[in-house]
């Protein structure tokens, strides 16, 4: 029972980490609260549904969703955020919320208000694997998300492109004076963040075997809460905060406390506490 709970919690936690990673990357570069990131997450689920008609291979479906969502993210940055960059940040926040609502309704119009199944198969027959502690699907989600997080970490911290992102984040003017094409740095940053969100959308769809128009609603705001808890812009803080939240949620629903504290409220209670006592995030620096 304990191990099952740990596996459930860790799986949720890694998915939260994937969703929040893109959010925190975008915040780092543009200082924008990118709510419609969760729309891109749901878009990933829908791309997967469409792609699953062609191939049931999970890896291929994830790749298709990452590509589609990455492009979507770049377009959103070009046409939604860039024209608003000179305005107050509240303007882009409102635009972002509007875009998110628009996307949810677009999914409803195009695919119907139903919960669609996502018939994809895990590689290596892992979906038939099962022990008393962990299911094959959980294993797939865990491995895929850890792999994606490591790739993202490597890109950010160990490549020339990542160096350009970090420099742009800290001082875009000086970065541009040393030859960094700011437009391209921001666009590629959006691409990666959105692609990772798309992968998260597929993995959630696969894990619960369901894709629906409002699947991004709760993650939209929960990811915001996690990003603040982890310290905005801090990748490892994000991962740890996500894991803690995934585990606490899982253990709490089976405890007597669940009666007064429903699962989805925990992130927001934690958000309030963090803002009250540690406004720079659990691991944030001043």
């Amino acid at each position: 029972m304990l191990w099952q709970q740990l596996a459930n919690g860790a799986t949720m936690g890694m998915i939260y980490a994937l969703i929040t990673l893109g959010l925190t990357m975008v915040y780092g570069v543009l200082r924008i609260l990118h709510i419609s990131h969760a729309g891109i997450f749901a878009f990933g689920g829908y791309i997967a549904v469409a792609a699953s008609r062609v191939s049931q291979n999970l890896a291929l479906v994830v790749a298709a969703a990452m590509l589609g969502c990455g492009i979507m993210g770049v377009l959103m940055q070009k046409w939604l955020y860039r024209p608003l960059l000179a305005e107050s940040k509240v303007v882009s926040l409102i635009a972002s919320i509007g875009m998110f609502i628009f996307m949810e309704d677009l999914f409803r119009l195009m695919a119907g208000p139903y919960v669609l199944p996502l018939p994809v198969l895990a590689p290596l027959g892992l979906d038939r694997f099962e022990t008393a502690h962990i299911t094959g699907n959980q294993l797939v989600v865990l491995i895929a998300s850890i792999a994606l997080l490591i790739v993202a970490w490597f890109l950010i911290n160990r490549t020339r492109l990542g160096l350009a992102w970090r420099a742009t984040e800290q001082d875009f003017e000086t970065a541009s004076a040393f030859g960094i094409n700011i437009d391209r740095a921001v666009a590629s940053n959006f691409f990666l963040g959105s692609a990772v969100a798309g992968a998260a959308g597929v993995l959630v769809g696969f894990y619960y075997n369901s894709v629906y128009p409002t699947m991004g609603s709760v993650p939209a705001y929960k990811a915001m809460a996690i990003a603040v808890m982890g310290g905005l812009g801090n990748v490892w803080g994000t991962v740890i905060a996500s894991l803690i939240l995934g585990l606490v949620e899982t253990f709490l629903v089976t405890s007597p406390l669940a009666f007064i504290l429903p699962r989805d409220s925990i992130a927001f209670v934690a958000l309030i506490l963090v803002l009250l006592f540690r406004p720079h995030g659990l691991f944030g620096r001043r």
Partner: protein, 234 residues
């Protein structure tokens, strides 16, 4: 090399620079001295491409670069030591230097430049894995110069390097600039510290509230009674 003609720069509704013209030859070192608020920083930002609200022409090797974004000017041999140093605070010393070389692709040459920076400023070598916000002001200024050196520039724009530094660091920083100039880098320096800049650079301009009021070789300017009274405190 650099020719500036009738440059007028605005910040919103305010005219900061009212039509100035000057030039810098290959290998020259030129100082623009002036008081606080004379428009020196604005001038350098405009030359680098960080400020685009201006009229007039900026020619680099006879080509108009006025409409190019900063990152393309960097590729053409311009580099900057910005006001207030502006090192990337959360990047290490080594990463800051790597950003300096961002426009370059010649790996071995970049390695070589990095070694040269460490020879010029051994303290940076000792601190290379340190995050640069933990450096002292003087060390950050050396890093800012080292970073610009890494760009292998043909023309280095230097903004107020002496501000906020202990005198011993000021000497060190100016020595480094002369050394760069000896190696063939042209330098355009804007400074409040007229004494130091006129003794290090070969030629100078005096900028007063957005206009050039005097120009000449450093010796001429140093012996000019106007300059002596207003800027050298003699």
């Amino acid at each position: 090399m650099l020719v500036v003609k009738d440059l007028e720069v605005r910040y919103g509704d305010i005219n900061v620079i009212h039509g100035i013209s000057f030039d810098i030859d290959e290998g020259e070192s030129v100082a623009i001295i002036g008081a606080n608020g004379a428009g020196k920083t604005t001038l350098l930002r405009t030359l680098m491409g960080l400020h685009l609200e201006f009229q007039g022409t900026i020619l680099l090797d006879g080509e108009d670069i006025g409409r190019l974004p900063a990152w393309e000017r960097s590729g053409r041999g311009l580099a900057m030591v910005p006001e207030g140093r502006r090192v990337f605070p959360d990047l290490t010393v080594e990463e800051n230097l790597a950003i300096g070389a961002y426009s370059r692709t010649d790996r071995q040459e970049i390695e070589k430049s990095m070694k040269e920076v460490y020879t010029l400023f051994p303290i940076l070598d000792q601190r290379k894995r340190q995050v640069s916000k933990t450096l002292s002001g003087g060390e950050q200024q050396m890093l800012a110069i080292g970073r610009a050196f890494m760009a292998n520039p043909r023309l280095l724009l230097v903004d107020e390097v002496s501000t906020g530094l202990m005198p011993i660091f000021v000497d060190k920083v100016f020595d480094a600039l002369s050394e760069l100039n000896r190696r063939g880098v042209s330098i355009l320096l804007v400074e409040q510290n007229a004494r130091k800049s006129l003794s290090t650079m070969s030629r100078g301009y005096v900028l007063e509230t957005g206009r050039i009021s005097l120009e000449g070789s450093s010796e001429e300017l140093r012996s000019n009674p106007e300059v002596q009274r207003a800027y050298l405190g003699i």
